[in-house]
Amino acid sequence: MALNRDELLDLYRMMVKIRTFEERVGEMYYEDKLPAFDIAAGPIPGEMHLYSGQEAVAAGVCAHLRPDDPVTSTHRPHGHLIAKGEDLKPLMAEIFGKKTGLCEGKGGHMHLFDPNLHFGCGGIVGGGIPHAVGAALAIKKRGEDRVAVSFFGEGAANIGAFHESLNLAAVLHLPVVFVVEDNLYAISVPKSVSTAVRSNAERGAAYGIPGVQVDGQDVIAVYEAAQEAVGRARRGEGPSIIEAVCYRYRGHFEGDAEGYLKPGEKESWKEKDPIHILGAQLQGQGWLSEDEVAEIQGEMTALVGEAERFARESPYPAPEEALEGVFA
């Protein structure tokens, strides 16, 4: 195993951090919404798409990224942004719609932007893929060694912009990595119904781009694939595509009745929890004790708790601020 203890522990800690954040958001989301669920009510209104179960992908890829590497994400963006190094406080405050949030309450959980981390995302499926290509174009024009990464789901790989972006990235030989998170469903539609090929990594061949499909529950597999792809891009050797097969533990969004799942399906994927897989490997090597597991969990719970306090105590924007900021 090429990864040393510290590197593996960093991956483990990052996955626990993301999971802890997401699960807490998932709890708070239901405040004041029940018993009769009202999507508009509570401290966190609107849709909520959480990343629990997919942590290995964000952690394994972003481990190779610098703060100045552009990343575009999706409607399920928290994990990517946390793995990119975001402070949990302004992230949580944005989810609460507060003035101290990353986007001052204008964006919300699906529309998070941080220019310091070169991060953007959005609520339109596939919308971020060409942005990463454009960011890579800017990098190439300036002769920099930065790398752009676009995270998106397997559902997005059927949108025209995906195919156009791959072609553009290849023909311009750009430093970009396309990361497909195949969590098996586009909301309720399974990949087998929507996608003509088994693996989206194969689609790279149509554009002369190297592609690999990896087990997205195995953070080391993701890490190694990303190391290769990010390295290629950083050396100016062009784009790559990685498909990581993973699973959504909380459905498409909070409130998803998940009537489309097969019986026992989620349970079987929970047995392949990416955090437990790496935890067991670390413990097997004597690199992580039970006490350390609890210690890491305690640390992450405290961090998320601080972010929650910050978000709750922050003020809302003034209503009239809605009128500001349409133009620069």
Partner: protein, 336 residues
């Protein structure tokens, strides 16, 4: 016999089911229209009734499947394509405004495009800038698309039936807040009497939801509900508002607008779409063109003030017309 009550979403799915039974050429294609039944319930139960050959879940390939609906329609099928949120239409815009809208005209009238394109609109539940728009004005702007925006379960069924039978492309915009969904803020007006047998509601006929003499409120969709609530408040203060639900923007019932303004002499337009270059401006222009001499005050417009829909609740509530702000604006207009 007691009237049968349905939610708007059930009224829509019933209309589709009845037309599918009547006409083999009708089929549904869209994202999550099958097992999920449509994210907003417009196709609920249809997969069980008609199977996956006629209730077709689509990949997230909007340009592809909306364009395919256009192609199937030109071959005589009557596809109903659903794309979850109107905000997503950008991904398919070329097929909508260059092809669906224009093929009939460009062909010299020789080719028809009898399809329905339906989608959800509207905000007020903190879904932010890319999931809360209305945009019916954008599509009504393009010649060749009929634009339907129902506010009641009765109208939703009758207008959907009409839309499916129409030989033209019809865009059918249902507001999430009028569908009667269990997970949205409760709205008593989203449930109402709906006859079981098939019927149509003709396009281009506005409905006078409330008669009044002091001002005319021109509106549609969820804003019709809020305008009616505002009218009740105004009535307590002795102001009688006439509320006109336009029901379809294309074709538009100009006559109903003008007749009402001739009676009340004051007009306010309540619109959840963006203010500039949209429905509210168009209606104000029609009033100016056809009823200027009858006006005692300039037309008043209440619409989203040309900003994307912000996420945070206080800001969102500030930009989308509320019952209180509709009532306040009406009072200002009557005082002018």
């Amino acid at each position: 016999m007691a009237e049968r009550l349905l939610t708007t979403s059930k009224a829509i799915s019933e209309a589709i089911a009845q037309e599918m039974k009547r006409d083999d050429s009708v089929f549904v294609m869209g994202e999550d229209v099958g097992a999920y039944g449509g994210i907003f319930g417009a196709t609920e139960g249809l997969l069980d009734q008609f199977g996956p050959e006629r209730i077709m879940d689509m990949p997230i390939s909007e340009m592809g499947f909306i364009g395919a609906a256009v192609g199937a329609a030109t071959e005589g099928m009557r596809p109903i394509a659903e794309l979850m949120f109107v905000d997503f239409f950008g991904a398919a815009m070329d097929q909508i405004y260059n092809h669906m809208a224009k093929i009939h005209y460009m062909s010299g009238g020789h080719v028809n495009v009898p399809m329905v394109l339906m989608t959800a609109i509207g905000g007020s539940y903190s879904d932010a800038a890319q999931h809360s728009q209305c945009l019916y004005g954008l599509f009504a702007h393009v010649p060749g698309i009929k634009v339907v925006v129902p506010s009641t379960p009765y109208d939703a069924k009758g207008l959907m039936t009409q839309a499916i039978r129409d030989d033209n492309p019809v865009m059918f915009f249902f507001h999430k807040g009028v569908m009667g969904l269990g997970w949205m803020t409760p709205n008593p007006r989203a449930t109402g009497p709906v006859p079981e047998e098939p019927y149509t509601v003709p396009f281009g006929q506005a409905a006078v939801r409330r008669e009044g003499s002091d001002l005319t409120i021109l509106t549609l969709s969820l804003m019709a509900h809020r305008s009616l609530d505002a009218a009740e408040k105004l009535a307590e203060e002795g102001i009688n508002a006439e509320v006109i639900d336009l029901r379809t923007l294309v074709p538009l019932d100009r006559e109903a607008i003008v007749e009402s303004v001739k009676k009340t002499h004051r007009v306010m337009i309540v619109d959840e779409d963006y203010k500039s270059f949209g429905m509210s401006g168009e209606l104000a222009a029609i009033v100016a063109e056809d009823a200027l001499d009858y006006l005692d005050a300039a037309p008043k417009r209440l619409a989203v003030p040309d900003v994307p829909i912000p996420y945070s609740r206080p800001m969102e509530q500030y930009v989308i017309p509320s019952v209180d702000r509709i009532a306040a604006a009406a009072k200002e207009l009557v005082a002018e």
